[in-house]
């Protein structure tokens, strides 16, 4: 197909420039901005009254400047949705117009904090594949207006997709779904609903004991900075004197109680936050778009086209793995996220917490053509355990050598690393696995936790193969798969032949998919990887 034909095809039957929706920001946002400005001006205001009058000038500046900026933004901001693009325009002196083609919109997010909900407004953020987060933030729209915007945008995108779907079919790509007959008001299917028990479990199993420890350490540092530690030390010594009066087991009991209470605090806080953030989580599918809605105070909505999902991860930290529970997250090209990482707003989460069996049933709904769930993974190489142990030994030797001048014979303790490295190797070998299916690459990794990643092979951007010095000796290799969403997924310690085969196959599939995405005059032949 020549470019001119494409131009003809994409020339829409109805004029694209007729705005479907046009509007300004909601006036209630000014109230919010006033509150913000007041908050930032509060401290200089108080200080100005109490200490020095001149600080009042600062307070006035801090109050008026952001407010005037907000006012100008409110007065000048305008957005327009047409059949093909979303346009935003703002600025007084520095006028800025931004046009986002609708077929480039990755996901749409809506976020309404409690205050915004009281005012009946919501923040809409439009994300493209730029990877820099939201491309356009409409802060804020009326709730009804936001709903209309979403509906119209989804509809326009569906129309565009149908058109493109036809084009791609002309280019003979059989994997595409046939275009839906209707574009208006597609039915919405609820595919998952979080129940409070699961959310409670999510909180219980979210062991943030580490954060408690870090917080305690930070508090200690601050206390030290303020010179309070001397006083504290005095208090501590008198406290220990007092403790010495008790028998040993009472002291141990007290210590246990202390640890337990710290644990309990962290568990309770994470449970409460889980219940609040993901309250009433509903995941539904409309046409080809995933919609999630959740939140108790701050209500969030996220839409993500299923065909744009770059990676689905099934994450089980060790405790969750013991209990057979899992979290599912989906990465689009708009997010950068490592496996196992979670952002506070939970926008990448598709299933906050569910038993693994339920998750497996849900997967086909999350990623197109994800029907074949591997029952057995292919194992990586056994030599992985050997490599880990060897590495542990080398590190131990180095540490021991470095430690001898300082610690003497105690430095031999470093050799405890060797059995540790062996166990780590064993554990990670047990988890490590992969499976290349029709349309997806399945990876499984982890040490005590277990993480599975499902990558649509059509989304592969590049594949790297890496060999460290030990791996060269043992002919092992690490495989790193780059997709546009999330951080690169890494599969360590495959045998060299296996890794090289996988690499070629994946790259060939990626290139083929890309050639279908970008219609060029001569379709690229598929040669590599088939060898």
């Amino acid at each position: 197909m020549t470019p001119s034909e494409i131009m003809q095809n994409s020339a829409p039957s109805c004029a694209p420039e007729v705005p479907l929706l046009q509007g300004h920001l909601h006036p209630a946002v000014l109230l919010l901005r006033t509150l913000d400005a007041l908050r930032s001006a509060a401290l200089p205001l108080v200080l100005g009254v109490l200490v020095n009058r001149y600080l009042l000038v600062l307070a006035a500046l801090l109050f008026l400047l952001p407010l005037s900026v907000a006012l100008i933004r409110y007065l000048t901001f305008q957005y327009t949705l047409t059949r093909t693009e979303l346009r935003t325009r703002e600025g007084l002196f520095n006028r800025q117009e931004r046009r986002i083609p609708i077929d480039r919109v990755q996901d749409l997010g809506f976020e309404a904090t409690i205050l915004r909900r009281l005012l009946g407004i919501t923040v809409a953020s439009v994300e493209t594949a730029s990877g820099r987060g939201a491309e356009a933030v409409l802060d804020s729209l009326g709730r009804a207006e936001a709903e209309t915007l979403r509906e119209l945008l989804l509809q326009a995108r569906q129309e565009l997709q149908n058109k493109q779907g036809l084009q791609v079919e002309v280019l003979a790509a059989p994997s595409h779904e046939p275009p839906a007959a209707t574009t208006a008001a597609l039915p919405e299917w609820t595919i998952y609903q979080a129940n409070p028990v699961d959310l409670m479990m999510r909180g219980f199993t979210d062991l943030r004991f580490g954060t408690v420890l870090i917080a305690a350490f930070a508090a200690l540092q601050v206390a030290d900075q303020l010179g309070m530690l001397v006083k504290l030390r005095f208090a501590a010594s008198s406290f220990f004197e007092w403790l010495r009066g008790f028998p040993l087991f009472v002291v141990a009991l007290l210590l246990c109680a202390l640890v337990a209470s710290a644990l309990a605090t962290s568990v309770i806080s994470s449970t409460v936050s889980s219940l609040l953030v993901f309250h009433g989580f509903v995941l539904s599918l409309r046409g080809d778009t995933l919609l999630s809605r959740y939140g108790f105070f701050t209500r969030r909505q996220k839409t993500l086209p299923r065909s744009r999902v770059q990676r689905v991860t099934i994450e089980q930290t060790w405790l969750r793995r013991l209990l057979g529970l899992a979290v599912v997250a989906a990465d689009s090209a708009a997010t950068g996220r490592a496996v196992g990482q979670e952002k506070a707003d939970g926008f990448c989460v598709v299933v906050p917490m569910a038993p693994l069996a339920v998750v497996h049933q849900l997967l086909p709904a999350l990623s197109v053509g994800c029907a074949g769930i591997p029952t057995r993974y292919r194992r990586a190489s056994h030599r992985l355990v050997f490599r880990m142990t060897l590495k542990g030994t080398i590190v131990a030797l180095l540490l021991c050598g470095a430690g001898i001048p300082f610690l003497g014979p105690l430095a031999a303790l470093a050799f405890l690393l060797v059995p540790l490295a062996f166990v780590m190797g064993k554990l990670s070998f047990g988890n490590l696995g992969f499976r290349l299916l029709e349309q997806h690459l399945w990876l499984r990794l982890g040490v005590i936790g277990r993480y599975q990643a499902v990558l649509p092979t059509a989304k592969v951007q590049a594949v790297a193969l890496e060999q460290g010095p030990l791996q060269q000796i043992l002919s092992l290799a690490d495989l790193t798969v780059f997709v546009a969403g999330g951080s690169p997924t890494r599969l360590p310690d495959l045998t060299l032949e296996m890794a090289a085969l996988l690499q070629r196959e994946l790259v060939a599939r990626g290139a083929l998919a890309a050639a279908c995405d970008w219609p060029s005059e001569k379709p690229l032949p598929r040669t590599a990887g088939e060898a």
Partner: protein, 176 residues
């Protein structure tokens, strides 16, 4: 489709060097020497002055601490002297119809495959010292944010431009 582990591996230095035919410009070794030694000089100056200063400040600590620091500084210089020719001899790449393949690394060997249709944009980067040597670095970007750029250093400017234009033509851009 299942990957079969049977069959001869299409990987291995003997086999691949025939495919990965292109190498960097020879003068990149000198360029690397210059930059590495400059970097090493800064590190060594820092380490030696630090060991001298702290050696006077804390005479109680065993002397091996400072000796270790000096040895480390020596190691850095040695590395800067050894790595450039090795890195040059290992660097290989090729751009064919479908793929850009590159393989490099001394201890940690890396082989990267980037499908040409997946490339988003191409940059030519020339730093001040690179310009003195008439060298350029080609940077290829794919979609995504982390690790989405792939660099080919040490190309002569006409060659880098030729490579860029070739990729653009393969990519289907009819502007050239």
């Amino acid at each position: 489709m299942e990957v079969n582990s049977a069959g001869s591996p299409p990987f291995g230095p003997e086999l691949e060097n025939a495919v990965l035919s292109e190498r960097l410009e020879r003068r990149v070794v000198i360029y690397w020497y210059v930059t590495d030694l400059m970097r090493a000089a800064v590190a060594v100056a820092f380490l030696l002055s630090a060991s001298h200063y702290f050696g006077e400040q804390y005479p109680k600590l065993p002397a091996i601490t400072w000796q270790a620091m000096q040895a480390f500084a020596f190691g850095i210089v040695l590395l800067a002297l050894i790595t450039p020719p090795l890195a040059f001899s290992r660097w290989r790449f090729v751009v064919d119809e479908q793929l850009m393949r590159m393989r490099y690394g001394i201890l940690f060997v890396e082989e990267r495959l980037v499908p040409v249709p997946r490339m988003q944009h191409l940059d030519l980067v020339r730093g001040p010292i690179e310009r003195m040597f008439g060298l350029a670095t080609l940077v290829v970007f794919t979609a995504g944010n982390e690790g989405s750029s792939f660099r080919v250093p040490g190309l002569s400017v006409p060659r880098a431009e030729e490579l860029r234009d070739r990729i653009l033509r393969l990519r289907g851009a009819n502007i050239l």
